[in-house]
């Protein structure tokens, strides 16, 4: 099953490679991983999307907790949560496709943030599957480039991951 795991870790050189190394060394799946410092500059927050049986997920959480630099870990999928991912897509947009592309982007609440004679760059923020649907909605041959950040997640309501 797909799980989205959030964690706080010391904002130190090498901490990221410990997490990445753990996943590769133990053969765990990693669908996406995103990380950046938090409002507390000593901490980074990481969101990992992974999949595995309940036993594997239990081990992943325990192994993450075991890393000395990991301060706290939460399996967001255990409760209500929100997930968002940012995607930048550069598409070919010429002739009548310029209109059409802008229209589809609008349906998905995308914004065109860069324009050239032949291209648009569209910014979209959505769930992982929302972004996938956008890519399915447009003609594949028009996609020049995509960049995705990987999912970020946060608990709903009072569910807070803090020190």
């Amino acid at each position: 099953m797909r799980h989205i795991i959030s964690l706080l870790m010391e904002n130190e050189a090498g901490a990221l490679s410990r997490v990445a190394g753990l996943f590769s060394a133990r053969g765990y799946n990693i669908e996406s991983l995103s990380v950046a410092p938090t409002e507390d500059a000593t901490l980074s927050r990481m969101t990992i999307v992974t999949s595995g049986s309940d036993d594997v997920i239990e081990q992943i959480i325990k192994q993450l907790n075991k890393l000395i630099e990991v301060v706290t870990v939460m399996d967001l999928s255990e409760g209500e949560h929100i997930e968002r991912e940012l995607m930048l897509v550069k598409v070919r947009a010429v002739g009548e496709m310029r209109e059409e592309m802008a229209r589809i982007a609008g349906i998905f609440h995308g914004r065109i943030i860069d324009v050239s004679d032949k291209t648009y760059t569209i910014e979209l923020t959505d769930t992982v599957s929302g972004l996938d649907s956008f890519l399915q909605a447009i003609d594949r041959s028009l996609i020049l480039e995509t960049v995705r950040t990987g999912a970020s997640g946060i608990g709903r309501g009072d569910r807070v991951l803090k020190l």
């Binding site: 870790m9 010391e10 050189a13 090498g14 490679s17 410990r18 190394g21 060394a25 036993d55 239990e58 081990q59 325990k62 192994q63 907790n65 075991k66 000395i68 630099e69 990991v70 301060v71 706290t72 020190l163």
Partner: protein, 568 residues
């Protein structure tokens, strides 16, 4: 007064009460060696290979409850140390390894003798540090010792660039240290401890499965009290030998691949299994599906949550330190009026005695050819079971585990998790340093001993009177055994050709060598060797080349699918 980083590092070790540093110098650690030179509290043991430095520190740690310390230079110094570090990691041994690094400004430039020490050791340390600021050295070393010895112990590496070791700052050694992301548990959850007690008291076919965690936690007293109080059978893993006295009648010996029939059958058929500081290793449980076929309740005490329900689902998971948890469990049991049901227990013991009656460790002795088991039995007698025994890896290791009866913890020193050939002699050096007056023997094979044979020179320099018991079968015996059983007798590259004359070799290093060919000479030779209190004696026992280790649960098989000697 300001001190250099190197002086600070050494002062930190002094503050930690370190007696010995096992190491090897080189460019990146020259300032640290200079600081060592200018003091006399810490003794430096110059090994002949960095792998041996780490194994020696490891043997020191295993035979005491202290942290072992090794010091190596950058680049090849670190890479040579990696096998030692991984060995300690797999068996949860507390070590602090200080490594030199190229100067900060040169890091990343493929500088001379540069290797990413933190990167290369990351998967085989509990934690590691690169110290980039001289002001951080004291705090980092304090943390390193704290992490190494607390919780589930393990090796911690501190990498110090050369320039940092020469910069100056005020020295202040922090009295305490805390790491906000690290809080190892001590006491188990009260409710779970009570639940465990209930299960144990209600058991009809109980079994205690005790591992290295009992030794690491110095909890043999509590374990012994518990097992005796309840009258239960107890098995000790390869790492846990000595955690419960092997000569006691409630001891069933070792479980697992080369464990006893009675231990394995009791593991398989018990209805309540109390696992204490043991990690359900594949060499112990064998085939997990086969193990799970039998329904039983499992109580698991371990300080590392990730050891629990990793391979086998458990019913009562207790995260905590063995000594503390067993103490609490004993208190509950003492406070309870209930006792295990005597009839059920008697019936269970009758069944166990039937298994034990098969005498699975019996072997046919010979007048002509030395049987390896016989050497170990005699070793046990001659040392009155009171020696520190280290071993290398292979058949000789298994025979030692089976035939030397360890009644005390920290007496049996071997590499279980990584299975590192070459571990035995350097580890014995560390043991002998820690216990200068004790009898220390290393049981080894002609393959293993050659992996760190150069340490005979270190033994000479530091007058370490080790007794080397070489079970020389002219084969990589354990490999040969697998080839015999599973690869149609095709002995691919397992014959050891061109062996040295070990007697002359020992003599060349300034030691005493003995060669023993006849069974009748075994005991006299051992007696003579162990009487030489001040000499290292290298005993080359020419043993039966075809002997195999029994019982054996082949890889992938279940615990009751065992091959016994008599069946072949």
């Amino acid at each position: 007064m300001e001190l250099t980083g190197a002086e600070i590092a050494i002062r930190c070790l002094q503050e930690e009460g370190v007696e010995y540093v096992f190491g090897y110098p080189g460019g990146a650690v020259l300032f640290i060696y200079d600081a060592l030179f200018n003091q006399d509290k810490i003794k430096h043991i110059l090994v002949r290979h960095e792998q041996a430095a780490v194994h020696a520190a490891d043997g020191y740690a295993r035979s005491t409850d202290r942290v072992g310390v090794a010091l190596v230079t950058s680049g090849p110094g670190v890479t040579n140390a990696v096998t030692g570090i991984a060995t300690a990691y797999m068996d949860s041994i507390p070590l602090v390894i200080i490594s030199g690094q190229v100067p900060t400004r040169a890091i990343g430039e493929d500088a001379f003798q540069e290797v990413d020490a933190v990167g290369i050791t990351r998967p085989c340390v509990k934690h590691n540090f690169l110290v980039k600021d001289v002001k951080e050295i004291a705090n980092t070393i304090k943390k390193a010792f704290y992490l190494a010895r607390s919780g589930r112990p393990g090796p911690v590496l501190v990498d110090i660039p050369k320039d940092v070791s020469n910069q100056k700052t005020e020295f202040h050694y922090p009295a305490t240290v805390s790491v906000r992301s690290y809080h190892p548990a001590q006491h188990g959850e009260v409710g779970l401890v009570k639940q465990a007690a209930q299960l144990l008291l209600g058991a009809r076919r109980p079994m205690v499965y005790a591992g290295g965690g009992v030794v690491l936690s110095d909890a043999s007293k509590q374990l012994t009290e518990l097992v005796r109080l309840l009258g239960f059978p107890c098995t000790n893993t390869l790492m846990g030998l000595g955690g419960y006295p092997a000569t006691d009648k409630q001891s069933l010996g070792m479980p697992g691949m080369h464990g006893t029939l009675e231990a394995n059958m009791a593991m398989q058929h018990c209805d309540v299994l109390l696992a204490v500081g043991a990690r359900f290793d594949d060499r112990v449980i064998g085939n997990v599906e086969h193990f799970n076929r039998e329904k039983r309740n499992i109580i698991h005490i371990d300080i590392d949550p990730s050891s629990i329900s990793k391979r086998v689902k458990v019913d009562v998971p207790i995260v905590g330190d063995v000594a503390h948890v067993l103490g609490d469990l004993l208190a509950v049991l003492h406070g309870s009026k209930q006792k295990p049901e005597p009839q059920a227990l008697a019936a269970w013991w009758a069944q166990i005695e039937e298994w034990r009656g098969k005498r699975c460790l019996g072997y046919k002795n010979s007048d002509e050819i030395i049987k390896p088991q016989f050497v170990i039995e005699k070793l046990y007698e001659v040392t009155r079971g009171d020696a520190f025994i280290t071993s290398d890896v292979g058949q000789h290791q298994m025979w030692t585990a089976q035939y030397y009866k360890f009644d005390q913890p920290r007496r049996w020193i071997n590499s279980g998790g990584l299975g590192t050939m070459g571990f035995g002699m350097p580890a014995a050096m560390g043991v002998q340093m820690a216990h200068p007056d004790a009898t220390v023997a290393c049981v080894t094979g002609e393959g293993s001993i050659q992996m760190n044979i150069q340490e005979l020179s270190t033994c000479k320099q530091f007058r370490l009177p080790l007794k080397i018991v070489l079970l020389n079968n002219r084969y990589l015996g354990m490999v040969r055994q697998w080839q015999e059983f599973f690869h149609g007798n095709r002995y691919s590259e397992s014959y050891m050709e061109a062996l040295p004359d070990f007697v002359k070799l020992a003599e060349a290093y300034g030691h005493v060598g003995m060669r023993i060919d006849k069974p009748s000479d075994v005991e006299p030779a051992l007696k003579e060797a162990f009487a030489r209190k001040h000499d290292l004696v290298f005993m080359d026992f020419r043993t039966d080349q075809t002997e195999n280790v029994f019982p054996m649960v082949p890889g992938g098989k279940g615990l009751s699918e065992v091959i016994l000697a008599e069946e072949l």
